[in-house]
Structures are given as C-alpha cells and as structure tokens.
C-alpha cells in the first residue's frame, strides 16, 4: 500500500516537473486575449 502511494507521489512529482519545464521553456508568447481591433494605417502601411 505504502509502495503504491510512494510510486503515485513520484509519478505526480515527475509530471509536475515536466509541466513546469514546458511552461517555462515553451516557444512563443501567449496570444493577447483582451483588447480590440485597430485598423492599420499611416506608418504601418508605408
């Protein structure tokens, strides 16, 4: 019983570590989710 719990804890810890590494080292930024659309104009089209 204790062995099973210990294995589960180790598995969760490893999964957490992998998730943390991916979260911190993942490529690309996070797309904006708040804000609005603005028409391109002026220097953006010159």
């Amino acid at each position: 019983m204790l062995t099973t719990i210990r294995r589960a804890l180790v598995a969760f810890s490893i999964a957490g570590l992998v998730a943390a590494v991916l979260r911190l080292r993942g490529a690309g930024g996070t797309p904006p989710t708040n804000g609005g659309w603005r028409e391109l104009s002026g220097s953006e089209l010159r």
């Binding site: 490529a27 797309p31 804000g35 089209l45």
Partner: protein, 332 residues
C-alpha cells in the same frame, strides 16, 4: 501599357469582382472574359462596357492576353495554368484547394524557365492571409509559428469547398515535416475582427501551410483552420443537403504570428473583415497588377508571401476598401 489584355476565366462571385476591379485599373486596356455559363458571361461583359470582350473558350489566346486570372471551380486550375504557361502567359489562381495548390506549385521550375509568374492562392484565404503573415513577419527577427483562421464563404463554389475541406485531411507544417490531421478536429476559439467576433474553428484541408512554409525559412509551425458550426461538422461527411447561397455573408481572416524579436518571444495578430468574394476579387486584381507592373519579387510559381511586398499590396487594397486591422492586446 493601356493596350494590355487580361483574361478572366470563371465569372462567379470572385471572377466577376476581379473583372470589375481590373476594369477600373488604368494598366488594363481590354478584359477578355470566359465562363461556361454564356448568359452570365454576356451579362458581366455588358456591365463592364467597351473594355470587355468575350473569348471563345477557356484556353483560347485569340485576344492575346498578357495575364490570365483563373477563378473557375477547384480542380480545374492546374490544367488551365499548364495550357497558358505553354503560351508563356502569366497566371493568377484563386483556388483554395490543396490539390490545386500542390499542382500549381509544381509548375515553379517551368514558370521560372519561361520567365513568367504563376501566383498561387491569390484570394481571401489563402491570399490575403499570406500577405498579412508576411507583413507581420517583418516585425520579427525569426518567425516561429503562423496560425491562420478563416470564417465565411464567398460564392457557391467556395461554400462547396468549405464543406469538402471539413471532412478531408488537413496539412500542417510542424518542426520541418508535414503533418496530416483529420479535418473537423482541433477546435480552437478564434477572435475575428468586429463585428464577426469569436468563432469555433477546426482543422480542414486548407493550403495555407503549403504556401507559408517556403516563404519563412526556419518556420516551426504553420496551421490553418476554418470556422464551423456543429451542423457543418456533422454534415461534412454527407453530400451538401441544400444548395449553397449565391453569396455568403460577411467573413473574416485572422493571422496569428509568433516569433522572436531579439531574445524576446512575441505575438502579432492581424485580421480583415469583409465579404470573402469581394476581398478575394480585390486580392486577385492587385496580384494581377503586381505581375503586369513587374513588381513581383521573383518569377515562377509561389504564393503571395513569396511574391509580393506586403506594404504596397495592403495599401492598394486599403484604397479599394479592403482594410487590414491589428489586434491590440491589453495587459491585465
């Protein structure tokens, strides 16, 4: 230059818009028209006035066109492009079919050898989506990911293609290899320019990745999605249950570009809201004028991300009423 003839093959929702856009361009003297529907051809020719002439067949060169715009249903573009290429005539194709785009891209070596251009996917999406990706790409030192989403359809042929695409295999570019995924999978909520707003989008057989990957060396991911309702996804596996509308309502595209600016990761999101057939007509017309004016970046067969400078292209579209927008995020 005023004597230049441009031929338009296919006069549906997109082809007739291309004809009108080109008729108002001083670079074009004569517009040769052909469509399998003779009364429609006559109606479009009548509306354009003296500049329009009706050609005798889809592949005829009697009116000596310098460039041909292909706006026929998907599946016909490669054969037509080959016929015109053999006559050293440049081609602009608006097809959004994966098979057509693959076939047209395969004409690159011959087109280069003949010194002509084959503009592939010169519509709303692909087309304007590729130009927006290129425009956004200029802000980055290295572009890593491009994700395109589209909503809305143009004419009936476009609606049928949307229907087919949802049940076909999508092609994504991932870490230097092509990846096939089932269309209709991969739901993503995408925010389009107002008033379209948020739509659920899914993988579909779209050719964007085929056109974007060669234009961005080092690109890690390129994907394309289309919006769909539950009914669209369920019925995608069946024949179309009812005749599509002559023209769909407002549509939009959204192009999300991820990359690195120096050591920092960043994201830029561009979009356009318009009637897809109107925007596709404008994009095809501006592409045709770029070829006629020799402002394309190289000869051969390629998408707009490889062939045109995005800033003058978008400025010309803006003058024609097709306006791009940027999504400006708010820090919370």
């Amino acid at each position: 230059m005023a004597a230049t003839t441009v031929k338009i093959v296919g006069l549906g929702a997109v082809g007739s818009r291309v004809a009108r856009q080109l008729a108002s361009s001083p670079e074009v003297g004569t517009i040769a028209l052909w469509d399998s529907n003779a009364p429609k051809t006559q109606a479009v020719a009548h509306s354009l006035g003296a500049a329009a002439k009706i050609d005798s067949s889809a592949t005829s060169v009697e009116l000596a066109p310098k460039l041909v715009v292909l706006a026929t249903p998907v599946g016909t573009h490669v054969e037509l492009a080959q016929a015109y290429l053999a006559q050293n005539i440049s081609v602009v194709s608006v097809s959004d079919s994966v098979e057509d785009v693959q076939g047209l891209m395969g004409l690159d070596a011959e087109a280069r050898e003949r010194g002509v251009s084959v503009v592939v996917g010169a519509g709303f999406s692909p087309g304007l989506s590729c130009v927006l990706a290129k425009h956004a790409g200029a802000l980055f030192s290295q572009v890593e990911e491009i994700h395109v989403a589209t909503t809305g359809t143009g004419g009936p042929a476009c609606a049928r293609q949307h229907h087919r695409a949802l049940s076909s295999i999508s092609i994504d570019w991932r870490d230097g290899v092509w990846q096939s995924r089932q269309g209709g999978s991969g739901r993503t909520l995408c925010w389009f320019p107002d008033p379209v707003g948020a739509k659920d989008c899914y993988r579909a057989a779209r050719p964007e990745a085929l056109l974007l990957a060669p234009a961005f060396p080092g690109l890690e991911r390129a994907t394309s999605r289309v919006s769909a309702t539950r009914r669209d996804r369920i019925t995608a596996w069946l024949p179309m249950l009812y005749r599509p509308h002559p023209e769909g309502g407002p549509g939009a595209i959204r192009v999300e570009v991820h990359g690195r600016i120096d050591d920092r990761s960043d994201v830029v999101v561009y979009g356009v809201m318009d009637r897809p057939a109107v925007a596709a007509g404008g994009v095809a017309a501006v592409s045709a004028l770029a070829v006629l004016n020799n402002t394309v970046l190289r000869q051969g067969a390629a998408g707009l991300a490889e062939l045109v400078e995005p800033v003058p292209f978008l400025a010309d579209l803006q003058r024609r009423g097709i306006k791009a927008a940027v999504f400006e995020g708010v820090t919370v």
